[in-house]
Symmetry: C5
Subunit: 322 residues, 5 copies
């Protein structure tokens, strides 16, 4: 557990529980990173900040869906953030817990970068903590959503790329390899879209409902984060349509290719089978087949074959079958 | 019927109806397991606790969907729980009835384990009954939802496994056996998702609506169960998408494999039919076919055949058909 | 038109219009079966009970969707009931009209059984009419919904049976005959589900909205019917999913079977075409084919054929194509 | 422009603008058919009845979706009606504009029949105009919806017919011709359903919202039209399901027929290819094939062929492939 | 940055920041085109008009979804407009920002035409600015929506054309080329429909919610734009159905064509394979085949072949397979 306590315009960073307790008792504004679970930590949080045991259980222990739970003296918010933003087909989500009190913000998550960045931001501008806990919470959540937008850009690029490959390279034989990517991307978008949808609702609540923990002039900032999540949710819907269209097109292209293959088979069979029949016919060993003794018998049969082949070919062309 | 009556800080367990009646008349807090249907039991419950005949009919007799019915003096809740949590493709649901009064909780279900566990919990902490009937009801419902989460873990494992098999082992011939599993899992998820959705709404009602039977400090605990059901409902939606994607992918893989088979058929026919035709041609019995008398006639025809075969093969490769 | 008028604790059954008019004027509680349309009947109903002409038009004439229309002095309810409950693939729905006034219930439908049963029930317990018109209306609607539940049981049995046949008897050749049943069942479920959904809303209105015609102690009974319709609507959704899954599985099984057929065709062609080519090759009439003069030429060619056949077979097995 | 002005219990029909203006100034109730667009007409309507320029623009000029716009002194309603009711696959919709004021109704549409009928109705019962503008508006809208119901009957008949053809005449070869009909019907139903849905909402508003232009005793009549639209919307949903099921069944039947065709091809190939191979085998020109010299060689080879044919046939029957 | 300031009934066009500032301070109504991002511009807008930094950030910097954000003294609206209206398969959307204050309208977008037109309109009728900022904002948004309707006309023409080609030219071989168009059109419609849906909601808010920036007599004009967007959203839904139907029909046509091809293959194989077998049979070299020595052996075998061919053909016709 590590606390950033504002005292006399300075931010003091400490891990000593007694200091945190005294700072809180003295009404000092602070941001506490909760860190690893321990009986001591749980007990400390419950006693010092008066957090409900169920909330503590949620923070440290269980996997929870995104939600906002207003308690009397604080708001408990769970949001999910992206762990990695390098592969659009893998929406790897991590859980972040934020408790917004009147003089404190407690955060808990296992993703290093966000905490690092927030610490850096706090170090750079101590007045963030001076403005109040809601602003720290906003900065924290803002860092989370900031990772969503580049991820959606990757998703868009990949979705467009896959769609383009499916629709415009219909004749390529290696389309089959697009399948796992298409489904992985769809799944990733579905997961992200659902999360963004929930988190949009949470941010809407934070920016509209009159929580005493969120001062009025902080609300536009939460509405800004709401806009971001709304945009992500919107994009997720759009890209899911794109991927679904690509999958549908893929299936149609498959059927088309099958059609082409069967057409070729039909054409070759329709041409070759009659020719082979004619050849077999004159391969019969009947003693009395006068054609076999014609001087130009071979020419004659080749003529027959050419006529048959041209007829079949023309028939197919006229019927527009090939 | 078996009652756990709180008297002087002690829990008394009894099956004697008169004791229950007297205990209730004396305002003692109690939990009553209703047990098997009997005219006597029905009559007793109606008279002693003032339960509406329709509720008694529902409890003992009919199959009911999950619901919450507030009556004047008590709340009647029906929820469905999982009977078994070993097979993710079989969501085997059992019905549980809970009547929450001001001084009593009546429960009825045919699943042994939950009752056993609740009895054990009560034996371990008699203060559960001291806190009030709402807490006992919460413990009872909490035991129900506790079985949902491991079941969803099984579902997730199975869904991921099936999806992986479909998408990554596309060439295996035994994919066909995945079909019943995929549909059974989908059905199981659909059933569970629908139930979780309803029960989430019931728990939302219990945690938000101002029922006099649910004290204010018990509400966070019902909200906690609400969170669990919300999570189950959420997971059900996610996993249903995963399974649906796997089914769609399965169909696409089927079509792909068909394509491959037809391609092989086309290739072999396109190569062999012309060759057979050439052989049949020179099997004709025309007297005047000078080729037949060439000294290297066989070499010549083999040459023709090789040229035909290579041409067809090249044509297919150039056209990217094989 | 036939009325059941409560006079001095006795139920009088009469078809004489004047008696009905006098009974109504005297404030007697009554249940009137409206019977066939006639100008006289329409006029009588409008004058005696003050029913709006549009309602009378609806009752006697038109086909109407389920609805509830509260007028000042009475509630007009239209619900649809099942005419037959023997064939789950045919949801044969009949229309029933109920007008609930303060001292009267008017009913109209062409389904004999329900009326018969209600008459029997009334004969058995005259106090039903004594309790008030709402109770008679409840009994009437309850008889309607009572037919839904056994129908849904038939639907469930059939859906499970069809699903089982599709998924577990995938190799049977007579699957094709399942198609009309699957679609008929789906259609039946869709029709019933939509109706149950509407009627659930109607019953919710009857049990919750404060209609003066529905006394407070009758509301739990309407809520009970609401529960039944909710259950039917719920089941309809579940069974529709089951049938849809079965249809999807059916299509997948079809595709699979096609795959198998084409595989067999490919295998036989791939084995036989080369063999036939070899035989045709040595059927050529070239004078100079030394093989033809070998003493063990036949053995040699059989050897070649066996090698070709085994090669093809092995190739297919190695590639897992057959 | 043609007005029907009520003066002293008589309906006067006039096209003279000054008369209309004076009649309106004198507070006379009137119905005005607006007729063709002209600068004069627009100007007259705006000045005389105080209609907002945007409404006038909508009435005369633009294509508008169904809507209800309450202005201060009048309600502007746009509904779409069917132009023709002869072909269920063509929902040919025309736009009708109605402005309901306190003493006037303005209507505009290009469909002759409705106006004709309304004129006839007005001529038959002048008290329609006496009752007030809302009643005229109701009669007008009622005439529109009256055309929907026979159209839906045609749709139902066609949908049932197509479904029956698809499901029960699965072996007919001319199913392909059902395709354009199925899709045209679906499109027609979708268009109508969407319109009916909107117009139901408009009528709900007219019958429930407390518009001063709609007297209380006229509301049941608008609710009656609402019921009609609700019924049409309901039917559209049902029939769309029927048609969608028919399309799904059609695709399944197609796949089935393909299966059958491929099975036949496989059977004929599997029987004929080995037989041809056997014949080709004994067509080889090896000098040393002792079978060729057997006295009953032909019988022997026929025997072999019969055995091969029967084996293949039996194999297919045992494996249930044909 | 360029401002159109109303001073003494004249519109003054200026780019000098100080003039704008003085004009705003003097309470002059003005329309300001914000132009390119620059630190100076941002600072100026924030200081002069009191715009929130987050709004300025949104206007100049980020890609935002359509939205309406009421701030205390102004409303911030983001809508998306079409950049080009020439190709219905490409919904190329650009972002437009509008800030509506009490005495000013700020607009920002990178699409030349709209600004040009608005400038022209303003030059033509200076009283637009005199009426107030809401009217200028309305004119601006109206110009945006004006481009949607011709685009939807193109979409409709293309959708109808594609549907017609798919359904009525089922035998044409070049259907494959319709695929990219169908999917591109669907995607375009989906994107536009979603945008129109959002913008409809924004315009509904502008026309209904009591914003002090929108005078009451301007509301019908915003409602008119709302109607336009509602119409576009409605059309998008309709056309999406049309395109989806066309895609479904396309897939069905594909399957049908495949069926036809396979039928031809089956027919030719079923006719030719037995004939070839018969020919091969009499090509066998058995010494003792008396038929071979018949004088009319060839006639006999041709007779057999004709019988076989006719039998197969008749069998196919009787079974309705071809």
């Amino acid at each position: 557990m590590e606390a950033h306590i504002l005292s006399d315009g300075q931010i003091r960073r400490t891990g000593v529980l007694d200091e945190i307790r005294l700072g809180h008792a003295a009404g000092r504004t602070m941001w506490v990173e909760l860190g690893e679970r321990s009986a001591e930590a749980e007990d400390f949080v419950q006693r010092t900040f008066g957090i409900h045991p169920l909330v503590i259980e949620d923070i440290f222990g269980e996997r929870s869906a995104p939600k906002i739970d207003p308690y009397g003296d604080y708001i408990y918010v769970v949001i999910h953030g992206l762990r990695r933003v390098d592969d659009p087909t893998r929406a790897d989500l991590g859980i972040m817990d934020v408790v917004i009190g009147k003089t404190f913000v407690l955060t808990q998550h296992r993703e290093g970068p966000t905490n690092e960045k927030l610490r850096a931001r706090l170090a750079a501008s101590p007045n963030l903590l001076q403005q109040g806990p809601a602003w720290v919470a906003h900065a924290f959540i803002d860092l989370v959503v900031d990772r969503f937008l580049p991820f959606m850009d990757l998703v868009r690029a990949r979705a467009d790329d896959l769609e383009h490959q499916v629709v415009h390279h219909r004749d390529a034989t290696d389309q089959r390899d697009l399948l796992p990517d298409l489904f992985a991307l769809k799944r990733s978008i579905q997961a992200l879209g659902r999360i963004a949808h929930h988190e949009r609702d949470i941010l809407r609540s934070l920016s509209r409902d009159a929580f005493p923990e969120i001062p009025i002039d902080a609300r536009p900032y939460f509405r800004d984060v709401f806009d971001h999540f709304a945009r992500v949710a919107e994009q997720a819907e759009t890209y899911r349509d794109v991927v679904q269209n690509a999958i549908d097109a893929y299936l149609s292209v498959q059927a088309n290719r099958m059609n082409e293959t069967v057409k070729r088979l039909t054409l070759i069979s329709t041409v070759m089978l009659p020719l082979t029949f004619v050849a077999s016919f004159y391969g019969m060993n009947f003693k009395h087949m006068s054609e076999l003794y014609w001087e130009h018998g071979e020419l004659y049969v080749v003529g027959v074959m050419v006529v048959v082949a041209i007829s079949v070919w023309t028939w197919f062309k006229v019927k527009r079958w090939a």
